[in-house]
Symmetry: C2
Subunit: 73 residues, 2 copies
């Protein structure tokens, strides 16, 4: 992937049945940031992107998230 980050975030979030607020809390950012990612208003900062990737990796390792889009970006 490269362009569909927006959709990917939403896909991950819905698969985990989390609200934007829930995901924001997990990553240590504000809900507005998640909302902007999903609606193509901004792209994540270096730090935020690392945080999100690490979160996805953890969710996959614990079996809560499937492998689709595992090789993202």
């Amino acid at each position: 992937m490269s362009d569909n980050f927006s959709e990917f975030v939403k896909e991950v979030r819905l698969q985990l049945e989390m609200s934007q607020e829930d995901l924001a809390r997990e990553l240590g950012v504000s809900f507005a940031t998640i909302n902007r990612w999903e609606n193509r208003k901004t792209t994540p900062s270096r730090l935020a992107r690392n945080q999100f990737d690490t979160f996805c990796k953890d969710m996959r390792k614990t079996g809560k998230l499937n492998r689709s889009g595992a090789d993202n970006e």
Copy 2:
């Protein structure tokens, strides 16, 4: 602590004998960000602060950093 974040960052960095660039690389931020923290130009974002705190905790756990300022903030 509460106000001396600037001095604390520098203290940690010097104790670990790292340059601003080194610390920046470790935290996943730019060297300019570290420089601004140390010179009171900005205070860290939520995410950056978490990253820094985690880094310090790791360094203490592995004995590379002493306990001074462990209860920072």
